[in-house]
């Protein structure tokens, strides 16, 4: 996929905000993710969830993060310049995600600056908001990301 919003660090402008993605959270996928990675009663089946402390089936918060990442990789991170991230701050799961919810992302570049120690890259601070189909915010987090600069002609 090469129709990304940016290609290199120089294309990123502090303050830019983009919305993208559409991801249906099926009951099958919610349950499959939970059985593998977060087998709490309120994530693994409708029946176990009904009898649990939460009372209904909701997606694992880590699953919602993973789905947000999928949309970000599909639409924003350029394969030729996005490097591994050193960290994420302030993950907030604000509203439960339920089977049938359709998620989308708004990504806002909070800060974009050149790396002092590694001149081939820039450092981004990105705020991610994840919405459901009613445009309620279900998840927010702030990530740090490294992105390569445009290669100079050598």
């Amino acid at each position: 996929m090469n129709n990304k919003i940016v290609r290199y660090f120089e294309d990123v402008v502090s303050g830019m905000s983009v919305e993208f993605g559409r991801y249906l959270m099926s009951e099958e996928e919610i349950v499959a993710f939970a059985r593998a990675y977060d087998p709490q009663p309120f994530h693994v089946s409708r029946e176990a969830a009904r009898n649990s402390v939460v009372g209904e089936l909701i997606a694992s918060g880590w699953h919602t993060c993973a789905v947000a990442m999928r949309m970000i990789v599909d639409h924003f991170y350029p394969a030729e310049s996005a490097l591994a991230s050193p960290g994420v701050d302030e993950i907030r799961w604000l509203i439960p995600v339920r089977p049938g919810d359709e998620l989308s992302v708004r990504l806002t570049v909070v800060d974009a600056r050149e790396s002092r120690s590694k001149p081939d890259r820039g450092i981004l601070r990105i705020r991610t908001e994840v919405f459901n189909q009613r445009h309620e915010t279900v998840l927010t987090f702030i990530s740090t990301n490294f992105m390569r600069k445009r290669p100079t002609s050598m």
Copy 2:
């Protein structure tokens, strides 16, 4: 599984620290997770990774978080009292996780206090450290967790 370290909020002591888990990160699982949720070149195949900005196949950071969660649910969160978490802070991916790495967890209760607004539960702040087989720290984060108090006889 009912051999958990704690059952209710009252069993949790601020400062307690427990180590548990053993999770082999196979190449198959690293690639499967990445194809679903984080299809960057350095996560999806050895070949794509070799030609990528990172140069080798490493696990998605979200995958490592999910695996940590699996170990925490298996060994620590009591099914009868652990409620959904409102958030996680300061995720730091310190060292790449590679195929064949075996991960384990140390969990430290940083703070345990009663909820003022909801008297049926307590609020925990928990520091999670994830180690590889050389006991290098690959990931750390701090979570907020709600846990029910022991039911009183009614």
